[in-house]
């Protein structure tokens, strides 16, 4: 059986995107006895030396961007840019966060290039639990940043005579649950412990879902008392706003808005897609903090009202704020998948009725997607 080769291209996204898989992960893969090609500069965004990747193994070496993309299995966390996809060899396999359910265009594109793919966000166990995810980091990193900004807009944060901080979370799904846990602890357990030692009143978290967010007078009452407003919604219809821009006027001046859903704006359609909280900027790893006077507000599409503003934190890739922690977690989650792929001799031998990881992988494979999900794409 031919040994599969593995390529690790770098992600050429915004400057602040510094994540690459860590040397431990790459070493474990190379120890499976497969050739590993890393793109030149891999890990440099996190100040990891080239030697850390290749020093302890003969199987790993550095190569060009094109060479990394031309291996049997290509592992890259975020989906490649349009000009990178043609670099993959026909019949090879891409392992990445592809988001099949919401990106049908990608499915079409991958099929056109005759590629197999494993969408990491679709790898699930028999109970439907995602095996590759970092929702905790989404919640915690976002809340940590929001409290950092609140410390600036609300100077009395560490005053032991203040009332509890009021955090309101929109949405009670997976991200909302992590945000709730984080918010109780200011997004930073050390800060939380310090506050407790200093006898500073803690944080009260109010969680509301769609059956309350739709009641204007209730929501306005809640917003008037809110210090941090968190969007952790998962809307079935992204054209429907949860907090219209006018409602933002009811938040205290010092309030901070935290965007964890990071839905995009799209005014090109007849029914424009708007963020759940209307009129806040869409951040990324280069910039994720926006004060009301930021120019980013003026660059939002015309269909969006930005009249009422509060300090906002928004980032398309919240886990990337702490890149090493993030990639440590992803590495642990992805390794067993790669090992099973290697042991099986490639994706064609993955058995949907096989062992735990065979089943989990097959649910995330492009070739099994329509049947696995009971829908056509």
């Amino acid at each position: 059986m031919k040994r599969m080769s593995v390529g690790f291209p770098r992600m050429h996204k915004e400057r602040g995107e510094r994540r690459d898989f860590l040397p431990t992960f790459v070493r474990r893969i190379s120890e499976l006895g497969v050739p590993v090609i890393l793109e030149q500069g891999y890990g440099s965004g996190m100040d990891i030396s080239a030697r850390s990747y290749t020093g302890t193994t003969k199987n790993a070496r550095f190569g060009s961007h094109e060479e990394a993309y031309s291996q049997d299995l290509v592992i890259v966390l975020r989906y490649p840019n349009d000009d990178e996809l043609p670099l993959l060899r026909s019949g090879s396999c891409l392992m990445s966060m592809i988001h099949f359910p919401t990106r049908p265009g990608r499915i079409k594109q991958l099929k056109e290039f005759n590629l197999e793919a494993v969408s990491l966000d679709s790898v699930k166990d028999d109970t439907g639990r995602r095996l590759v995810e970092n929702l905790r980091a989404v919640g915690w990193n976002g809340v940590e940043t929001a409290f950092m900004v609140l410390g600036k807009t609300f100077p009395g944060l560490e005053n032991r005579n203040r009332r509890p901080v009021h955090v309101t979370i929109l949405g009670s799904g997976g991200v909302g649950a992590h945000a709730m846990q984080a918010a109780i602890r200011y997004g930073d357990t050390k800060l939380w412990e310090r506050m407790v030692r200093q006898a500073v009143p803690g944080v009260r978290v109010t969680v509301v879902d769609y059956d309350v967010t739709c009641i204007e007078h209730e929501m306005l009452g809640i917003l008037e008392e809110t210090d941090v407003l968190v969007d952790a919604t998962q809307r079935p219809d992204p054209t429907k706003v949860v907090i219209p821009n006018d409602w933002i006027a009811h938040l205290p001046e010092h309030a901070v808005i935290l965007d964890l859903s990071v839905d995009p704006y799209d005014c090109t359609e007849n029914s424009p897609t708007i963020k759940a909280i209307e009129g806040i900027p869409h951040g990324d790893l280069d910039q994720y903090i926006y004060y009301p006077e930021d120019k980013a507000y003026d660059l939002l599409p015309g269909c969006v009202s930005t009249r009422h503003r509060r300090a906002t934190v928004s980032c398309y890739s919240w886990p990337g704020i702490h890149p090493e922690d993030c990639m440590g977690i992803y590495g642990k989650q992805v390794f067993p998948l790669v090992r099973v792929l290697m042991e099986a001799g490639g994706p064609t031998n993955i058995d949907p009725r096989g062992t735990f990881f065979h089943r989990a992988l097959s649910r995330a494979m492009l070739s099994h997607w329509p049947t696995a999900q009971g829908e056509s794409v």
């Binding site: 166990d125 028999d126 109970t127 009332r163 509890p164 009670s172 799904g173 909302g176 649950a177 992590h178 709730m180 846990q181 109780i184 602890r185 939380w192 506050m195 407790v196 500073v200 009143p201 803690g202 944080v203 009260r204 978290v205 109010t206 969680v207 509301v208 879902d209 059956d211 309350v212 009641i215 209730e218 809640i222 977690i329 642990k332 067993p336 090992r339 062992t355 735990f356 990881f357």
Partner: protein
Amino acid sequence: MNALQSVGLPRMMKEQGERRVFLPDFVHFLTALGVEVFLEEGYWSDGGFTIEEYQRDNPHVHRCSREEAFDRELVLILRAPERHEFNLLGRGSCLVTMLHYNTRPWRVQRLKDLGMRAVSLDSITDDNNLRLVENMRAVAWNGIDAAFTELERSHPHLFERYSCPIRVIVLGTGIVGKYAVEAATKMGSLNRNEGYMEKGGTGSVAVAAGRSVTSRTSIMRTLLESADILVDATRRRNPSIPVVPNSWIAWLPPHAVVADLAVDPYLPNDRPPVVRGVEGIPQGNLDKYVFLPEDPDWERDIPDGVPTQNRRTVVSCYSWPGVHPQQCMEHYSRQLKPFMELLIEKGYDALSPEGGYIERALYRATLRAWLSR
């Protein structure tokens, strides 16, 4: 060739309301792995099934006595057997059950004395210490559902169109607390929530409070005075101190319901004595999990010296997932399958901490791993 050839499924013999059994599909899954399965007489009827549903077209499913079910290479039972039942285990049997090694040291000692093999389902964890066989979601959802059912029964006007949203205060923000918040915002039941939304109801709001809030009397008073449902989902560092002293219960509106998801025991003889998170409430089980303020169990089950003068309706159950037994066992079956596959194939003694993901997780749950910590 499998290392293990036979699996025994004894009955749980707990309270009458305990109706959980491994389902026919799961038993067929086991026999498809190449083992013979032995069901204790009456096992099927505990779950409302017939023996035919287990044996249909399957010659590898057998009925047997209780002793025979325990005398198998692998004995699978969800809740741990009682102290005296450990003697029934065959020499060399591997007991797979919820053993809770850390809080039940006598079980560990007993198994060790008997030289048994054991896997504790609650100790099967991944490399990040995340439990892989658990049903915390059902703890929260079933408990919150019961609380809303009681509130709906006693005070239906609170759910009407022009009333305020139902206010749920959740104490504790661990895993159960997280699920409790999710369940509270959906009124404990998606059907109930949808039903009230269609009628123009005003939904429910969950307020979560952690340790730094629950320790402050004045803040807690404000929260409790506005609560329709109070949820205890705490994990206390010091179980001898309640989170909500009985006197605070007086601050709750008379209609309020207390949902006990923590289900800590009263242990008056421990030093210091262990008390419940919400002081002066009874502990329920699957036979009875709703307690009205005038319920005689208040006097019967709560140790002397624990103040109980302030009372509200309480929902409390030692086994919340068991309220919906079939859903619960479907859930556990899905989680258990990969571990049963491996355990049957390799056997207990061959499990290694250096194995694959599933094997490492299973190894961590063995009595051997626990004793070598």
